[in-house]
């Protein structure tokens, strides 16, 4: 089942990249999808069947503009700090806690935090995330967690858990 899904995803990607219905293209794609699916199928995430849940897709489609909004906002903030004559930054590494449990969800949370300018995930240790911030937010762990990852957690939980 997982093998079949992997095969399908690889083949779909190949067809999108080639954008042609030539039998030779389809044959080559099928051959390489088989090769990749057979040899690298193990490293695919376990619960790949979640890909076909429409509810998750709906939340994912919601998540993209939501994330882009925060990304652009933070980008402008960093741009302001970079262009300011004094470079007003307070860098540092802080520890925050997440309530997400799934591997996939935590990976996407870490990637979202990294893609938001001004914060960068250095390491994940269980529920703890070590974040390098250009401008360290004030407060204790709970307040910082709310500030840095609180905006993404509710949607990510619905997508991946």
């Amino acid at each position: 089942m997982k093998w079949l899904l992997c095969l399908f995803l690889v083949f779909a990607l190949w067809m999108l990249l080639m954008w042609s219905l030539d039998p030779l293209v389809i044959g080559t794609g099928a051959f390489f999808a088989l090769l990749v699916g057979t040899y690298l199928g193990d490293i695919y995430p376990e619960q790949l069947h979640k890909v076909f849940s429409p509810k998750r897709w709906l939340f994912f489609i919601l998540y993209v503009p939501y994330f882009l909004y925060y990304c652009v906002r933070a980008n402008l903030d960093v741009a302001f700090r970079v262009l300011h004559p004094d470079v007003p930054i307070r860098p540092g590494i802080v520890r925050i806690r997440t309530t997400l449990t799934g591997d996939m969800a935590k990976t996407f949370l870490a990637n979202s935090i990294t893609l938001t300018p001004g914060t960068l995930t250095i390491d994940i240790d269980g529920q703890d995330l070590y974040i390098h911030c250009i401008n360290v937010p004030p407060g204790d762990i709970a307040k910082r967690s709310r500030e840095i990852c609180g905006t993404f957690e509710p949607l990510l939980r619905r997508i991946f858990e």
């Binding site: 960093v78 960068l120 070590y130």
Partner: protein
């Protein structure tokens, strides 16, 4: 019409790329520079690719547009992982934070990683000793 939108998107993307480069020069240490270099540039590059996709869909070449969109998705997925790996590797191999940094919560955890003879910690130590 669609071409105009595409040019505007490409222009804004270039502006973000430029800001990323300015940040790379002006910010102090490895970690801050990695932030500027990966983040502003990721958004800038994605907007450039989106602009190319718009140009493609406006009648030039649909496959080009689709390829640009797929490239944007892959840049979005891989760029944060690269930044994370570079910064974690830099910290574990002893690159210091900027002296005026206000906090360093990763120190104890880094010591723990380097002392534990687990597979991952051992691999990190090997990398540290190599040069």
């Amino acid at each position: 019409m669609m071409l105009d939108v595409a040019w505007w998107i490409i222009g804004v993307g270039l502006a973000f790329d430029l800001l990323g480069c300015v940040g790379l020069i002006r910010l102090p240490d490895v970690y801050n520079r990695a932030q500027a270099a990966t983040k502003c540039v990721t958004l800038g590059t994605c907007m450039l690719l989106l602009g190319v996709a718009f140009v493609g869909f406006s009648g030039t070449s649909v496959p080009m547009g689709i390829k640009a969109l797929i490239c944007a998705a892959f840049v979005l997925l891989t760029s944060p992982v690269g930044a994370h790996a570079i910064c974690r590797g830099a910290y574990l191999s002893g690159v210091k934070l900027w002296p005026e940094s206000v906090e360093d919560a990763f120190g104890p955890r880094a010591d723990q990683i380097q002392q534990q003879p687990t597979q991952k910690g051992a691999a990190d130590r090997e990398e540290t000793k190599a040069p």
